[in-house]
């Protein structure tokens, strides 16, 4: 049970990490075309690249965090952390593309 609880906590943290990576790659790719081109040339399409990199980071993060004893982290706090990351990331992406469309161009 203890190991399962640790994996759940690792999964919650890793989901937040994966979402943050999607945001960084998306905005980074728009502001820095070589990054977007690298994703496109390495993974057929930059969108596939973002999916592959975030999924790989998610799995790697679960593996790394599962080695730590995470019982000191409250499950409720981790859930709220993920809720906050998801909502903030969605808002940041919409606002970024709004700004890029109507302000930057």
């Amino acid at each position: 049970m203890g190991n399962k609880e640790n994996i759940v906590r690792s999964t919650l943290i890793s989901a937040g990490v994966a979402i943050a990576i999607i945001v960084v790659l998306t905005i980074g790719g728009e502001l820095n075309p070589p990054l977007k081109n690298w994703l496109a040339s390495t993974f057929i399409h930059n969108w596939i690249g973002k999916g592959v990199v975030s999924s790989a980071a998610f799995l790697l993060s679960i593996l790394v965090f599962s080695f730590f004893k995470l019982r000191f982290l409250s499950l409720t706090v981790l859930l709220w952390f993920l809720v906050l990351i998801a909502n903030a990331s969605a808002a940041v992406l919409v606002l970024f593309f709004l700004a890029e469309t109507f302000l930057l161009h």
């Binding site: 759940v8 919650l12 998610f58 909502n87 709004l98 469309t101």
Partner: protein, 152 residues
């Protein structure tokens, strides 16, 4: 557009809506204090599978057809922001859904027996589920607007 692309396009919509429907079922069961914990685990697992399958189908459509055939039409038309704001946001926000639903499934599978006793935990689980459904609905609405912009 080939029959394969039509199938893929329609499938990604149906699977995405199904994923959201499984999570709404999860929320309804939760709100009724339904003590059948296997039901919550199944709903969250089915949602994860549906979102992941939708991801694969939408990726195939987006990479092989949308960028070459649909995007140029939208960008030349009156509502080019449908692509530059809504589609760009939707295609990236959508990537959150498999991670969020998998996290919900993991929490439900291991901690479901604590939901009825721990109110703080159950409220945070419901918030995660509600966030995931909200994001799925946002993506669906954006998709409907983008589809409408193609005909203009």
């Amino acid at each position: 557009m080939s029959y394969l692309l039509i199938f893929v396009l329609v499938s990604h919509i149906i699977l995405g809506v199904l994923g959201a429907a499984f999570l709404v079922a999860y929320l309804l069961a939760f709100s009724k204090n339904r003590d059948d914990s296997g039901y919550l685990t199944r709903m969250s697992f089915f949602a994860f599978i549906a979102f992941t399958a939708s991801w694969i189908f939408s990726g195939y459509y987006y990479v092989t057809y949308y960028g070459k055939a649909v995007k140029p039409i939208i960008l030349k038309a009156e509502f080019s922001w449908a692509h530059t704001v809504l589609m760009e946001s939707k295609e990236h926000i959508f990537l959150f859904l498999p991670f969020l639903s998998l996290a919900l499934f993991a929490v439900t599978m291991v901690f479901r027996r604590e939901f009825s006793e721990n109110k703080k935990l159950s409220f945070s689980v419901v918030s995660l589920c509600f966030t995931t459904v909200s994001i799925a609905l946002l993506v669906t609405i954006f998709g409907m607007v983008v589809s409408g912009a193609v005909a203009k």
